[in-house]
Amino acid sequence: MLRIQNLYAQTEGHSILNGINLEIKAGEIHAIMGPNGSGKSTLAKVIVGHPEYEITQGEILYEKDFNYQNISQWTPEERTKEGLFMAFQYPVEVPGVSNLNLLKASFNSICKHQGVPEMGEEEFISFVKKKAEMVGLPFSFLDRSVNEDFSGGEKKRNEILQMAVLSPRLAILDETDSGLDVDSMAKIAQALNKLKNKQNAFLLITHYNRLLNHIKPDFVHIIKEGKIQKSGDHRLANELEEKGYTGLT
């Protein structure tokens, strides 16, 4: 579903990604681990089209209608409408815009793009209600402004709620586990496991293997200095826990 080939990217003259190669197939869960400043979050942002980064070499190929297309020139919204999604590490606040309104606007925009009829008001609300329950957010939460005065845990749950509503093909979760207490983490992991199926794929970006104890990745990649240094199965995460990044790479 996603093929990243020899990807180089920079921001403000600093080269951050230095030849990333990665292939993700439908049904897979990949985890990218790495020390601070290794380029993990940059990789996530480049995939979803953050304007701060410039691709200097290589390609991001994404499968659309059984064909791989280079999506480097696509706008962020085009990528989302084609099924990419990123759960942000630091979701921004949008004062005056309610969660429900944002969900509706996003959902309708995607429906329209994919030629699916939009849901009626009531149908949509009961649909969202179910998803909110799944991630452990009270329904009253939907009337609040997006991320405004949310706790860290609420912000992360809200990202997962958006993901649950939009049901992307490829979900990139950027440090969704950071700043979460044990219970919140378990709840989010439970929701993610429910959302996982054979047609979609996850790319988890994380520092620790806390989350990976709940969601078992098929592949673990260790990134350092903007390059994947080592790949393996879920056991690599445990090995990393024991030896640390320096011991491994």
Binding site: V48, G49, H50, P51, T75, P76, E77, R79, T80, K81, F85, M86, F88, P91, V92, E93, V94, P95, G96, V97, N101, L102, A105, S106, S109, I110, H113, S145, Q162, L166
Partner: protein, 474 residues
């Protein structure tokens, strides 16, 4: 790339008009008063105002930049010439060309199509064409007609309140208005009546080089309630036109007046050519105990806006509110805000002002909160937020707070922000294109004010702001 949606209401209605030759003198004022068949006291007041006006100078304190206005180069009266010499008895008799104009503006006037739930007074240049829903209003004792008609039909009521809130000596533009006002609306809500319909006046400038000087007077007697809406548009022209209105509101014991405006006068083009100069004095007086007045405005047009809808809180426990969204783009200049004068005990005022400036425009909030010595227990809350949507735009806030009574509680909050790249990216990564993302952000920013507008107006306001910002953001 988005293309600029031109000013939607910029068309001109081709109707023959009767207008005065350009220029202003006592004779012009006498003729004006004569055409309107006004009582003598009104003419006397007009002349008194005119003589005083000649001693005044245009106020310059707002620092607005515009070439000097030549007050002799304006037609002070212009009315569509009707085939029959008499005024149309009902709106169905009005020239179809004029009815069509209002229909194009989204304000159908004839019996079959008129808006349900809203009584409309349609003002075209210097005259009112008529007012809808008269039957229902009459039954409840509400008077809603043009000010010219009120001067003929209800002269004592007009005389009692006219100038009681904005005296002719108040300021340069109010003084000019008192001398030359042509039409506007008059509303009287009798004691204990909750007005069964929303009342609305739609002002349309059509003729070239005319000034529009409308005068509105709303009186709400004890324990009455009225929701009043005002809309305005004008054709696109290269030359500037002057609009100097006065609105007076009087609220007696426990009465409530809600006054909402969506101002969309022609703002001029990208180069700053043309557009309306909007110099307006709006003031409400909470005369009675526990009376309430609120001003809600969406200021989205005019080359220059100079406008400070204010409240004089005279009655004990009275309250005033000002909710404003002012949007400027291209070379527009807006200087708007409010004055809250606390006189009575336990009076309360709320100010929520949202300014959005795009392109090369300048958007200023100017406000005054004054707590007089006798105003024991007064409270005010002010919040002034500015959003910059262009690198060359400017936002200013000039709050003035004067407290003469120690028991007062006054809070003031102010923020200035830019349309935030992070928010924009966040929304785009949720599948929204730039346009929808911006409109969501701007609506979020203005939400507190839009919520105060009557529903149909708030839908209109949201669309208007979105349309105007489209190009500026892209």
């Amino acid at each position: 790339m988005l293309t600029k949606q031109k000013y939607k209401y910029g068309f001109v209605t081709k109707v023959p008009s009767e207008k005065f030759v350009k220029g202003l003198n006592e004779e012009v004022i006498c003729r004006l008063s004569e055409i309107k068949k006004e009582p003598n006291w009104m003419l006397d007041l007009r002349l008194k105002a005119y003589r005083h006006w000649q001693t005044l100078k245009e106020p310059k304190w707002a620092g607005l930049k515009y070439p000097p206005i030549d007050y002799q180069d304006i037609h002070y009266y212009s009315a569509p010439a009707t085939k029959q010499q008499k005024k149309a008895k009902s709106l169905d008799e009005v020239d179809p060309e004029l009815l069509k104009t209002f229909e194009r503006l989204g304000i159908p006037l004839n019996e079959r199509k008129r808006l349900a739930g809203v009584a409309v007074d349609a003002v075209f240049d210097s005259v009112s064409l008529g007012t809808t829903h008269q039957d229902v209003l009459k039954k409840s004792g509400v008077i809603f007609c043009s000010i010219s008609e009120a001067l003929k039909e209800h002269p004592d009521l007009v005389k009692k309140y006219f100038g009681s809130v904005v005296p002719y000596r108040d300021n340069f533009f109010a003084c000019l208005n008192t001398a030359v006002f042509t039409d506007g609306s008059f509303c009287f809500i009798p004691k204990g009546v909750r007005c069964p319909l929303d009342l609305s006046t739609y002002f349309r400038i059509n003729e070239k080089d005319t000034g529009q000087f409308e005068r509105t007077l709303i009186i709400a007697e004890d324990s009455s309630y009225v929701n009043y809406l005002e809309g305005c548009t004008a054709p696109m022209r290269d030359s500037n036109q002057l609009h100097a209105a006065v609105v007076e509101l009087v609220a007696l014991d426990h009465a409530e007046i809600r006054y909402s405006t969506v101002q969309n006068w022609y703002p001029g083009d990208e180069q700053g050519r043309g557009g309306i100069y909007n110099f307006v004095t709006k003031r409400g007086k909470c005369v009675g105990k526990g009376s309430r007045i609120s001003w809600t405005q969406v200021e989205a047009g005019s080359a220059i806006t100079w406008k400070y809808p204010s409240c004089i809180l005279q009655g004990d426990y009275s309250s005033g509110a000002f909710y404003s969204v002012a949007l400027t783009h291209d070379k527009m200049q807006a200087d708007t805000g409010t004055k809250m004068i606390h006189i009575g005990k336990n009076t309360k005022s709320t100010i929520i002002s949202k300014g959005i400036s795009a392109d090369h425009s300048v958007n200023s909030y100017r406000g005054q909160v004054k707590i007089l010595p006798q105003a024991q227990g007064a409270r005010n809350f002010s919040q002034c937020d500015s959003m910059l949507a262009g690198k060359n735009s400017a936002a200013n806030t000039f709050p003035l707070i004067e407290i003469k009574n120690k028991s007062a509680v006054v809070e003031h909050e102010a923020t200035t922000s830019r349309i935030n790249e992070d928010q924009l990216f966040y929304l785009k990564s949720r599948g929204l294109d730039t346009e929808s993302a911006v409109s969501l952000l701007v609506n979020g920013f203005c939400d507190q004010v839009f919520k105060k507008l009557p529903l149909e107006f708030s839908v209109e306001a949201v669309k208007l702001i979105e349309m105007k910002l489209e190009n500026s953001i892209a």
